[in-house]
């Protein structure tokens, strides 16, 4: 008897038998008969304690800090995800068949929430997932749909995007607003203070923009040094309207920082 084969339910105890008992692998009737004898036997209890200590070690193993992912693997993963994100972004922004003409007397209504849901599925989700993936892996990458450039931002504050950026395409002068900002903002879902739908609607209303307008992207910006949020709208076939508004935009206060239509 080595002590590890399945044996009869008594001393010397079989470790396998007790492990089966502990794991619930025994027939319920057999287990019911065995438990009182096990509970009454210090040697059996000691084996059970050893099995529990083993499980505790395994739980601890799960919580132990992992070695960092080697840089070359992280870079490879970055590249793969960036490629995937880019191909999705291109597919999303590829020319689509024109919308069916609205029925006479009816404006083409695109419900903002539905548009957002669709967009979230297509793009926002991608961006959100990428962020979650980066956080999960503990690596940094910058590729998000519709956004190129930038630099790796290991350890950057995940809330940093809530603040108007100090450089890149999101910090510009009023007359510089154009393609660069369009490309960088399309697909972004950072509404900043306008994440509140009521506030966004009130701001759009103050700027004479229908709340039904399809928002293609939103991102905090700095216009001539002033903080704001850039919103991108579809504006006719192949045209986009870029409107930057200040954080105080609301009823009766357009707080417009810049407004441009680009093709």
């Amino acid at each position: 008897m080595t002590g590890i084969e399945r044996g009869s339910g008594g001393p010397p105890w079989s470790v396998d038998l007790l492990a089966d008992l502990q794991a619930g692998a025994l027939d319920p009737q057999e287990a019911a008969q065995l438990w009182p004898r096990v509970n009454a036997d210090p040697e059996a209890m000691e084996i059970l304690a050893a099995l529990e200590a083993t499980q505790a070690d395994l739980r601890e193993f799960a919580m132990a800090p992992a070695p960092p992912m080697p840089a070359h693997f992280a870079a490879r993963l970055d590249a793969a995800i960036a490629t995937e994100a880019q191909s999705r972004a291109q597919a999303t922004f590829a020319p689509r068949p024109p919308m069916p003409a609205p029925a006479p007397g009816h404006a083409p209504v695109i419900d903002l929430n539905e548009a957002r849901r669709r967009r979230n599925r297509r793009l926002g989700w991608g961006a959100g997932f990428l962020a979650a993936a980066a956080a999960a892996v503990g690596i940094a990458f910058v590729a998000v749909p519709g956004r190129t450039g930038g630099s790796p931002s290991a350890g950057s504050d995940p809330n940093a995007s809530a603040q108007p950026p100090q450089g890149g395409p999101f910090a510009f002068k009023q007359d510089e607003l154009g393609d660069k900002q369009l490309d960088a903002t399309k697909g972004q879902q950072d509404y900043g203070p306008f994440a509140d739908k009521a506030k966004l609607t009130a701001c759009l209303d103050a700027n004479g923009i229908s709340s039904k307008a399809q928002v293609l992207g939103a991102h905090p910006v700095t216009v001539d040094g002033k903080p704001g949020t850039l919103l991108v709208f579809v504006h006719g076939a192949g045209e986009f309207r870029l409107v930057a508004v200040g954080p105080d935009c609301g009823p009766g206060n357009p707080a417009k920082l810049a407004d441009k239509t680009v093709r």
């Binding site: 008897m1 080595t2 002590g3 590890i4 470790v15 396998d16 007790l18 492990a19 089966d20 502990q22 794991a23 619930g24 692998a25 000691e46 084996i47 304690a49 050893a50 099995l51 200590a53 083993t54 499980q55 070690d57 395994l58 739980r59 601890e60 193993f61 799960a62 132990a64 800090p65 992992a66 070695p67 960092p68 992912m69 080697p70 693997f73 490879r76 993963l77 793969a80 995800i81 995937e84 994100a85 999705r88 599925r121 297509r122 989700w125 991608g126 959100g128 997932f129 990428l130 979650a132 993936a133 999960a136 892996v137 503990g138």
Partner: protein, 175 residues
């Protein structure tokens, strides 16, 4: 997620490949995600499944021995010695198990999946999960030094994980 892949596959190259497969697959399936579970839970499952797929593929191939000591752990500032020792000892102990015992042990005892979830993920009966976990724990209990039974210790190849001070490792110090 890197840790999950690494402890499931043990080989950094394979872990990186599995992670990449999992992330691309998750990215493509993102639209099907339902907010019934947390993103991390959902992602964790995808990573584990990608790793299990690789384990299955590995089993189907001729045996390729993995490094005895597992992947090299670089020293990380602030990483306590006891943590590194714990990981190393448990990782080496898990390497003693057969693949069919290691997978359920990893899923149930390390990753925290229920027996029922584990059974579905591995495509085996719940009873099989329980018995494989039982066998795996029994072996680990010996390898980790929690069992004193001298006859059971006699044929356990656990020399590599003996504590440096030579004392029996019934319980890890400082825990």
């Amino acid at each position: 997620m890197w840790a999950v892949a690494l402890r499931t596959l043990r080989d950094p190259e394979e872990a990186a490949d599995a992670l990449q497969e999992a992330f691309i697959s998750a990215f493509r399936a993102a639209a099907s995600f339902r907010a019934e579970s947390q993103v991390t839970t959902w992602l964790h499952r995808i990573v584990v499944n990608a790793c299990l797929d690789r384990v299955r593929r590995r089993q189907a191939r001729p045996t390729v021995p993995l490094p005895e000591t597992g992947p090299t752990e670089p020293v990380t500032p602030g990483d306590a010695m006891s943590d590194r020792e714990t990981s190393l000892v448990v990782r080496n102990a898990l390497a003693e198990l057969s693949e069919e015992q290691r997978a359920p042990i990893l899923l149930v005892d390390v990753e925290g999946y229920s027996v029922s979830e584990t059974a579905k993920m591995l495509g085996i009966a719940e009873g099989t999960v329980k018995s494989r976990c039982a066998r795996g724990r029994a072996k680990l209990a010996k390898v980790l030094g929690h069992l004193r039974n001298p006859s059971a210790d006699a044929n356990v190849p656990g020399d590599a994980i003996q504590p440096r001070d030579g004392r029996p490792r019934r319980h890890w110090e400082g825990k």
